[in-house]
């Protein structure tokens, strides 16, 4: 009891997260997703692309825990490696999207009016394309690749980070501590990075957690359409697509391909919701 109490005293927010059933579930799912993706090569004895025709369409067995696909590849192994792709895309796209959005949002909020208007118009223009549509237009020209998927996702997510940063920046721009700093002769860069950034970054991190499901969904969606990762690299989306081709003969690939996708999106959504309630109750209403 004693240790428990000091734990919740030392990390009040973290222990609140653990006491919230949705938050705890989310955290467990997210940790499981990250660990299984990182340690995929250790967790499975099989290779994700090793073809074994003699074992195709096998049901679950002690060798192949979730059975095999149309080329005799181990489904579980491919799911684990598919998680690596999802994690990689999410990590890269979310961090770059967040950084660029943060930068542009601060510029829009702190800079001159015309620059603000220009950036907002650019954000509106990007938002005027339904997410998948812009991706399809770009990929028609560049050809499918994982890199393009990441680029498209970054372009798509910059406006939401940018907007929040801009609103936050506008909110504190005329606060006394900023005015004081400027009166003492601090340059724009110093004000932005030393004083504005620490104050706007909190909501962005929550948004990032909420954004991961969107990113993972777009990657899986484009791979599902055959416009993301190239075979034989496994992706949850392409596994679903393969499974759909053979849906009349066996339901397992389609079921197995969907579950990790759902668990991951659920995990990040639960976690994001819980974090938002803990760190910023005001944001609750605005959604």
């Amino acid at each position: 009891m004693g240790t428990n109490r000091s734990f919740s005293k030392r990390f009040p927010r973290f222990s609140r997260l653990l006491r919230d059933p949705l938050g705890a579930t989310g955290l467990i799912l997210v940790v499981a997703f990250v660990l299984s993706a990182v340690f995929a090569p250790i967790l499975t004895p099989h290779s994700p692309s090793q073809i074994a025709i003699q074992h195709m369409f096998e049901g679950p067995s002690s060798t192949y825990l979730l059975g095999t696909d149309q080329l005799g590849r181990d489904t579980l192994t491919r799911l684990l490696y598919g998680g690596r792709v999802a994690l990689q895309v999410a990590a890269i796209a979310v961090s770059i999207g967040l950084l660029v959005g943060l930068l542009l949002g601060m510029i829009a909020g702190y800079g001159p009016r015309w620059l603000d208007n220009t950036l907002m118009l650019a954000f509106d223009t990007i938002n005027s394309f339904p997410a998948i549509m812009l991706a399809l237009a770009i990929i028609t020209l560049t050809g499918p690749s994982l890199e393009m998927v990441i680029v498209v996702i970054i372009i798509n997510s910059i406006p939401s980070y940018g907007r929040i940063t801009r609103t936050q920046t506008l909110g504190i721009k005329h606060n006394e501590f900023i005015l004081a700093e400027r009166a003492m002769g601090a340059g724009t860069l110093r004000v932005l990075f030393r004083h504005v950034m620490p104050n706007v970054v909190g909501p962005l991190l929550i948004l990032a957690a909420m954004n991961v499901p969107v990113v993972v969904t777009i990657e899986a969606g484009l791979s599902f359409l055959g416009l993301g990762v190239r075979p034989p690299t496994p992706s949850w989306g392409s596994m679903l697509s393969d499974g759909r081709q053979i849906i009349r003969s066996t339901p397992w690939p389609v079921i197995a391909g969907g579950i990790p996708l759902i668990l991951t999106t659920l995990g990040f959504t639960f976690l994001g919701e819980a974090l938002r309630d803990i760190f910023d109750p005001r944001l609750r209403k605005s959604r």
């Binding site: 118009l121 339904p130 549509m133 028609t140 499974g243």
Partner: protein
């Protein structure tokens, strides 16, 4: 209201203008020669030269752009690389299927989600409220194409309750509705939860207002207070959301159309991406975006006409 409407419509036109600029420039923005980008690596030099000539790719950028805009204003978005059919015609013939699907998806989501949110707010912290809360977050998080495939698997392939593919026989309305149910269910599911949450939050806010307390104090029955007074105001935020929802569902429709092999803009675009038929993709994306911007603008105007406070926000 007039000033707000003009400003809002002006903004929409500017956004569409820039969207066109982006879509037009895309082929020039991607590094490399536009002709080989458009035709892919397998095209011969002869085909490339012909294509460049036909598409006017030998003209300077600004001439090409002005031509594109001028033609677009007259409803001409170019022609199919392979069949030479006008893009506008091709896209519009598919658009109706997509619009029907999106409207059906959003429709059932609104019919279920709005009352659910309302009930959750009225019976706050009840079992129903908590259940609906978890259900909402859950359905919002699940990708619509997973719902589509699983719906196809369970209701069409395993239990054979609904047809697997297609949009139904033309002219046979019942058959078409029959084919619409599963895809509309799949793309609308997430929006049930989303709308329920928004209505619940907005309802709780309104229920705390003074005029609601006054109405209660006058002894009006609870159902009258809730449905005649509170819901009328609480529904406003959802109006704006329905426009955004359309755009979201137009994206979701891409997957539903592929999975259920339905005709529609999404299926058209994906087919054309595979054959690198850029003019059709460009036209289809442009028309879809225009439809989306139109919907968002319309719902904003509707919200402004219902709620004077919105008008000041621009």
């Amino acid at each position: 209201m007039l000033l707000y409407s003009l400003k809002r419509i002006g903004l929409a036109l500017v956004i569409i203008f820039f969207a066109m600029l982006v879509l037009f420039s895309l082929i020039h923005l991607i590094p490399g020669d536009p002709v080989s980008i458009a035709l892919g690596p397998r095209a011969t030099a002869e085909i490339q030269a012909k294509y460049a000539e036909r598409m006017g790719l030998n003209d300077p950028f600004i001439v090409q752009y002005l031509k594109f805009m001028w033609n677009a204003l007259q409803g001409d978005l170019g022609s199919d690389v392979f069949t030479d059919r006008p893009v506008t015609q091709t896209v519009l013939s598919q658009m109706k299927f997509t619009v029907i699907l999106a409207v059906a998806g959003l429709g059932w989501a609104a019919l279920l989600g709005i009352p659910l949110g309302c009930l959750s707010a009225v019976q706050r912290n009840s079992f129903l409220d908590k259940f609906a809360g978890v259900l909402s977050v859950g359905t919002i998080a699940i990708p619509s194409f997973v719902v589509s495939i699983w719906a196809l698997l369970f209701f069409a392939v395993m239990f054979k309750l609904f047809p697997v593919i297609g949009a139904g026989k033309s002219g046979d309305l019942l058959d078409q509705i029959w084919h619409l149910i599963l895809p509309a269910f799949a793309i609308g599911l997430g929006w049930v939860g989303y709308l329920a949450r928004i209505v619940r939050a907005s309802m709780l806010e309104v229920m705390g207002e003074n005029y609601i307390r006054a109405a209660k104090a006058y002894g009006l029955p609870n159902s009258v207070v809730v449905y005649r007074y509170a819901l009328k105001v609480a529904i406003l935020p959802t109006v704006t959301l329905l426009g955004v929802g359309m755009g979201n569902l137009l994206s979701g429709a891409v997957f539903a159309e592929i999975i259920f092999a339905r005709p529609g803009v999404g299926k058209l675009i994906v087919d054309m991406v595979m054959t690198r038929n850029f003019p059709v993709v460009q036209g289809a994306v442009l028309l879809t975006s225009m439809l989306y911007v139109f919907m968002v603008t319309m719902t904003d105007l509707l919200a402004a006409s219902l709620d004077p406070r919105v008008r000041k926000s621009i």
